[in-house]
Each structure stands twice: as structure tokens, then as C-alpha cells.
């Protein structure tokens, strides 16, 4: 096969997988489409689940599989895909990076479409650099940390990085901007703009939703994402070459790849065309030793060599000859080991895991106990994207350093709907264990407890009658109950009101009371994590979660 054929096959594959990723990203939500068939949900009480495999790219990601296995001892359902990718890498090198990875494709596009660097500058930028060892450092540190019970690989895993950045920052950002434009058009006096704004809303809403979404720290995710994309203008595929731990893992696995770059030094005229388009900075030029662990299998060198001095060949020999090993350098290895061992312990020093958990750390329903949770959570944002009420947010400091960007419920932003189990169904690693609506409501699965802040509460403070928290309480019988009373009111009067009380045995911590309380900002009824059934320790009442079954 000719080189440029391979390049076209690569481009088609890249476009397909990027498209698939974006499609699944958008589909990670409850559709607004009222045409869909709801009859199953009504007639059989079946769960509302997403039918599309929105977590597919996380099943495909060997790093998600590996880190879940060694850290949480969890063999994921979709693990076969990940193993397939590893096997493919063993034979064909980092074809995942060149052909499949949607983040890689984005970087490829950002670096190759109207490149900022021209000529010799570009050749220089594609020269192998010592910074490429950093990714091995990250990989080793993440794997060792995962072994010791803190799985932070998701902070750097390309699928998690891409999903988080796109779903929590880029997509809501674009959606907000578009809504602003339509709003302005709808207000316009020009007739055609009015009409267009209506049509545009119908087109745009299915992708971006009707309402804006907000996520804590999303601005930071967005900046990070854009900066990393921008770096492609200075050093093409900066992320893939320098930071990507998945690339590092696949690089290590490419040791015995039988798909090799064969160089014919006699034909080479040193035009450096191969290095000018090299994606991985893998030294494709004859005279240098080809770095199979750095090569992203983009086939640009093969396709662009005017002298046919380069070609990729399947080297079928027995025993297979090893490729040169990945150039990690001793410092990256030792540093990685050291960092990997230190981080799980350093991360505990803030006391958030054992000593004093943050009362605001309310995890999604079905979440494993905190220590197990941290061995599995990829911080990917799937649960946050899918949540219909926008209650699930990335943490900042609530879960301590160890849990940065893990999910947390912010009840002033949304609430956990009583029979909804979507987050548990999309979690790619089982950090949020799969639950059914029946389990959630019957066991019940408690995520926290509500309490009334009497000084702020309207009836308790004698300011007005109000029963909004009780009205919205979803349990039956209600966990919030009312007692009639006369309370002192301004000007020496007595106000007849119904005072809300919380029955902690019934409260599941869903937070709808906090969300709907008329005292905005800091509501008069609030939810804290205490009483969550996932923890034996974090209980208020004697009898703990055992009172509700295990």
C-alpha cells in the first residue's frame, strides 16, 4: 500500500472516531425530544436509561481499564475493548493515537491546519525533545499512585480530559453564547432576525439543550483545554508527545510491534520532509534511530517522502525482534516512582478522607465508600454531563486534594431527582455503582441529610408562612413534617404558621428542599453528607445505615 493511501485511511478513521466521540458526548443527556417512546417507563416502571453507549471511549481506553484494575480491583464490563487496543498496539504500535484518539485528532487538526510554524522552524519543532520523557513520569506516577489506592490518572487521561473539557466547559460555553445571540435576534426589530432566531433555537436546542448549564471550576477546565490546544501552534501535538499517559502506556506496549518504519539511507536526499510532518517527533529521518514508542503511526513520513526512502513494513519474523525501548530516562522513572508513592500519602494530609470529611461532599447516589471511590473515579464528567438537574459538579476542595474534580452535588444548582439513576448508569468504572430506582427509593440509598436553619426559615423566624420544603419532599411518608404553631412575629404579633421538621430516618438527602427553598443563596434548609448510606462512620443516628439494610 502506498503511503498516501494510508494517510487517507487514517484521516477517514480520525474523522469517524472524532465524530463518534462528539455524537456520544452530545447524547450523554436525557433527550428533549418529546417524540421518543415513553411507554416502557410508564407501563413497566422501567428505568429511564440512555440507550446509546455513551461511555464507549472509556471502555476503549486501556488506561482506564488498567488503573481501575490495579487500584479498585475492578474488571470493567467493556474491558475487552481496552484489551483489544493493547493487543493492537503490540502488533501495530500506537495506531490508537494516530487513528482513533479523538483528543489526538483535535491536536492534529490544531497543529496541521494552517500551521503557525513554517519551514525550518517546523522541522525544529518536530525534533525529538527531552520533554517527551515527562509523559512516562506521569504514567509511572499515576500507576504507582493507583496501586496505592489513589487513582488520579483521570486528570491526565486523554478521554477524561477531552470529555471533561468539552462537556463541562466548551459545550456549555458555546451554548450560552448561541442563546445570547438568539435572544438578541428575538428582541430585534428586523423581522427576518426574529424568524431566524426561532428556527435557530429549534436547531440548536437538541445539541446544547434549552437551558444553560453551570459547573464549578468549568472556567479553569476550559482555559486548560484551550491552552493545550493552542500549544500545538508552538509544538505540534504537544499533549500527545509530552503529557499523555495513555500515549506513554501504548508507547511501552509498542516494543514488539511488527509494523516498522524501514529507512533507505541511500535514497535519502535529506530534504527533511518526513520530519516536517512528523506528528510524534519520532525521528523518522534516515540516519536517526526511529523511536517506535514515540511514533503515532500517522504515516505522514511514509506518504510525504519524495524519494521513497521511507516505508512501513510488516516485519514477520520469529522470534520477533524488539524495537528500541521507550526513551524514558532514569530521572523520569525514579521521579515517577517517588511521586507515585508520595502522592497518595500527601493527598491524605489535608484530612479530608479520614479525619474531617467536608459536610458539602455529597456524592452521587450509588457512590462507593470514599476510599473505594477514589480508587475508581476518573473525574471524566460523564455523571455531571448526564445529570438532568445540573446538580453534579466537579469538586474544588470539598474532597480534598485527592478528590479534585470528582463529582459532588451542589443543591443550590440542582437536586437529586428521587427516581433518577442516570449517573450510576453512565459511570464508566463503577465508582458510582449501578443502582435501580427501586433500590434507590426502597433501601433507601441516602446521600446525606437535611436540616433546618431556624434563624433563616420564614415560618420559624416569624416572617411568613411557607411549606415549600415539605411540599417538595419526595419520600412517602414525607421526611419533612409540619407542626402548627403560633410564632412571635414583628411588632409584637403572633403569626400562625406550620413549622418544618426533618425526620432523619426518612430523609434521603436528595436536596430538593434546599433547591426550592425561597431563601436563595444560602437556603434555610440545607443538606449535608452526614447520614450517607455509603459510609459506616459518617452517621448521625445510632444504628447508622444498618437501620436501612445494607
Amino acid at each position: 500500500m502506498k503511503g498516501h493511501h494510508l494517510i487517507w485511511i487514517r484521516r477517514i478513521s480520525q474523522a469517524f472516531f472524532l465524530g463518534l466521540f462528539l455524537f456520544l458526548l452530545v447524547e450523554t443527556r436525557l433527550a428533549h425530544d418529546v417524540y421518543q417512546d415513553y411507554s416502557m417507563a410508564v407501563s413497566t416502571g422501567e428505568e429511564i436509561v440512555l440507550e446509546k453507549p455513551v461511555g464507549f471511549f472509556f471502555e476503549l481506553d486501556p488506561l482506564v481499564w488498567l488503573s481501575s484494575l490495579i487500584s479498585g480491583h475492578q474488571w470493567n464490563a467493556g474491558a475487552l475493548w481496552a484489551v483489544l487496543v493493547l493487543v493492537l498496539t503490540l502488533f501495530l504500535g500506537r495506531v490508537f493515537c494516530g487513528f482513533i484518539c479523538p483528543l489526538g485528532t483535535m491536536h492534529h487538526l490544531a497543529g496541521a491546519l494552517r500551521p503557525a510554524l513554517k519551514g525550518s522552524e517546523r522541522i525544529k519543532a518536530n525534533k525529538k525533545a527531552p520533554s517527551q520523557k515527562v509523559k512516562y513520569f506521569i504514567l509511572i506516577a499515576a500507576v504507582v499512585s493507583a496501586l496505592l489506592g489513589l487513582n488520579w490518572v483521570g486528570l491526565f487521561d486523554p478521554m477524561a480530559f477531552l470529555f471533561r473539557g468539552m462537556a463541562l466547559a466548551i459545550l456549555p460555553g458555546i451554548g450560552d453564547a448561541l442563546r445570547e445571540v438568539f435572544h438578541a435576534m428575538a428582541q430585534s426589530d428586523v423581522k427576518i432576525f426574529n424568524l431566524l432566531s426561532y428556527g435557530a433555537e429549534v436547531l440548536v436546542a437538541p445539541v446544547f439543550g434549552y437551558e444553560g448549564k453551570a459547573y464549578q471550576t468549568a472556567w479553569f477546565m476550559g482555559i486548560l483545554f484551550l491552552v493545550v490546544l493552542f500549544l500545538n501552534r508552538i509544538r505540534p501535538r504537544f499533549w500527545c508527545r509530552t503529557l499523555c499517559p495513555l500515549g506513554a502506556l501504548l508507547g511501552v506496549c509498542s516494543r514488539f510491534s511488527i509494523l516498522r518504519l524501514e529507512k533507505d539511507a541511500d535514497k535519502c536526499t535529506e530534504c527533511k520532509g518526513c520530519q516536517k510532518t512528523c506528528q510524534g517527533a519520532a525521528s523518522p529521518m534516515p540516519g536517526n534511530s526511529w523511536e517506535s514508542a514515540e511514533c503515532l503511526m500517522c504515516f505522514n513520513c511514509f506518504g510525504n517522502c519524495p524519494e521513497d526512502a521511507l516505508s512501513f513494513r510488516l516485519a514477520l519474523r520469529w522470534p520477533p525482534a524488539a524495537n528500541p525501548g521507550p526513551d524514558m530516562g532514569r530521572r523520569a522513572v525514579l521521579g515517577g516512582l517517588l511521586a507515585g508513592v508520595s502522592l497518595p500519602f500527601l493527598a491524605r494530609l489535608d484530612g479530608r478522607i479520614h479525619k474531617a470529611t467536608d459536610p458539602r461532599l455529597i456524592r452521587p447516589p450509588g457512590s462507593l465508600p470514599e476510599e473505594d471511590f477514589l480508587t475508581l473515579c476518573q473525574r471524566c464528567g460523564l455523571c455531571m454531563k448526564v445529570c438532568p438537574t445540573n446538580v453534579i459538579n466537579p469538586t474544588l476542595g470539598e474532597a480534598g486534594m485527592a478528590g479534585f474534580w470528582t463529582p459532588r452535588l451542589i443543591m443550590t444548582q440542582g437536586y437529586c431527582e428521587y427516581t433518577c439513576t442516570l449517573c450510576s448508569h453512565v459511570c464508566p468504572t463503577g465508582a458510582i455503582a449501578r443502582i435501580t430506582a427501586r433500590e434507590k427509593t426502597q433501601k433507601p440509598i441516602k446521600i446525606g441529610s437535611a436540616y433546618v436553619d431556624r434563624g433563616r426559615c420564614l415560618p420559624w423566624s416569624g416572617n411568613a408562612p411557607c411549606i415549600v420544603c415539605e411540599e417538595h419532599c419526595p419520600t412517602s411518608p414525607k421526611a419533612i413534617y409540619l407542626k402548627k404553631a403560633g410564632v412571635p412575629a414583628p411588632q409584637g404579633k403572633t403569626l400562625q404558621v406550620q413549622l418544618p421538621y426533618v425526620d432523619l430516618r426518612r430523609c434521603v438527602g436528595c436536596g430538593i428542599c434546599e433547591n426550592k427553598c425561597p431563601v436563595r443563596g444560602k437556603p434555610a434548609i440545607r443538606t449535608i453528607a452526614a447520614g450517607e448510606s455509603r459510609s459506616l462512620k459518617n452517621q448521625i443516628l445510632l444504628g447508622g445505615p444498618s437501620a436501612f439494610g445494607s
Partner: protein, 311 residues
Amino acid sequence: MGNDQPISRREALRRMARISSGVAFAGLAPVTLPSWAGQESEKFLIKGVGREENYSLKTLIQKVFDSAGGLQRFISKGDVVVIKPNISWARAPELAATTNPEVLRALIELCQEGGAKKVRIADHTIHDARRCFAITGVGSVAKKTGADLVFPRSSLMKDMKLRGSRLDIWPVFVPLVEADKVINLPVAKHHSLSSLTLGMKNWIGGVGGSRWSLHQDIHQSIVDLARFFRPTITLIDATRILVRNGPSGGSPSDVETKNTLILTDDPVAGDAEAARLFNLDPKKIGFIRLAEKWNLGTADPLALERKQVVL
């Protein structure tokens, strides 16, 4: 397309302008003189009860309308009809927290057979609308009947002048005010503050904004809304009623079967009649008493034409 489609913004704005100017003029008249004052003698209330084992809801509704003079008295050919059910909570139909989807379905079919050009279903839900559509059965009904199910998005909430005594300017769910005919289709159920939620309280689901603050003066808020939204007709679904743990219920033990429907063009009389199903004295319910005072209708069962249909 179609199903989920709102009226175009242009049209919405045009109609809004018309409505707000209308309301502005209405505001010039003394408030104690509602537009239908003096027509009380023509008001009616039809109670339909299903006694047979497997009675047909559609036949019952048909007969109830027939004894009110026929559906064509209210729905003309080519009308755009909007139905306001109560589907606030993502609860299964049998828990009686929401309008019975079979009643809704039968009503839509009758409207369609009666020549309505378009039937829309609109409610500003409390739980996530997508989940409410799915779980209450209303989504299935929309799909089966081809009625439009309007998604209560914020772009359809427009500030309007309610001119109430409590509520002045408030965001209103536009599709509910811009149809030719409006049918209020509430479910009768218990409520912890207003004691019951029936037809007039159903209009809390017709507005947006900070609805949680309405509860500080719930009875006046209900009456203000009932004075703004004036349905062509109200059909109260009491096929099964939620007698405690309202308004969201959650347990089948909170539900009683009544197999009753109440059709009326007097919002107060309808609510009063439904209250009697709960063995409550309507005169002791704040918003009913207040609504009478504001001349919205009468809670006196003898003050209007009454009929009963039994199947």
C-alpha cells in the same frame, strides 16, 4: 418538528402585545367587576361518575360534555386547543400525583374528533420535564394522539402583567395564553398548605419565576392566577385522588379511587365540588372563599345548573 414546536417568536410577541394591551385596558375597569359579571345564571357543573366495572373513560367524558350542551359548544372547528394537565411530579400515574393520562388521552381524542386544528399539552413541571413526560404517561399520550407536548423552556416564559392583588408582573408560560381555547385538566389531590390542589391552583404550573415564594400568601396567589388564566372550561380529574402526603404522594396507600370527573365553566364551583369528595367543607378552604369574594364564581352548589351522569 411540530410536536415540540412553539409558536414563532414573532407571533408570540405579537400576541403578547395584544394580551398585555388587553389586560391594561381591563385594568382600567374597577376590579370588583369581572368581565363575566351578571352571567352567573348560565354557569353549569356536570359530575360524571363511573360505576360500572370497566366503564370507558372516553364515553364518560363524552357524556359529560353532551349534558353540558356538547363539546362543539366549547371547541370550534379549526381551533388551537391547549390543555393544562397537572404533571408536576415525575411519579407513576397510579400514585395520583398527576393527571390521569387516560383522561388526558380521551379528552385529546374528543377535541381532535371535534375538529380542533391542533391540540397542545402544556405544563411547567416541578421535576425535570423530560422525566415528568416519561413517567407520568403524558409523553406516551402525546405520541399516540399526535398532540403537541410543549417543553417548558425558559424562552417560553414571558413577563406579563397579571394585575393581581399580590402578583403584579410575573413570567407566564406563553403557550397557555395564546391558544384559541384553554382546557384546565387538574388532578384533585391533597396539599399541605392550601389543603387541596384542584383547578385554580393548577395555574401555579402556568407561570415561571420564583414560584417558591407564592406559598407565603398561597390563597391570594392562587386567586390572582385564577383571575389571569381564564380557561374555556375546567375538567377536574378525580378518577383517583391523593388524600394525604400531597401534593407529590408517592405511595399507593395515599390514593383513593373515586371514578369521578367534574366539568364546569365556573372555576370556583368545580373546586368546591371536588373538595366535597375529600369530605371537606369548601367554605373552609382559603382560596375558594377568597375566589368567591373576588367574584370568580360560586361555591354554593345550588347557585348553578347541576347535572350528574352515571355510567
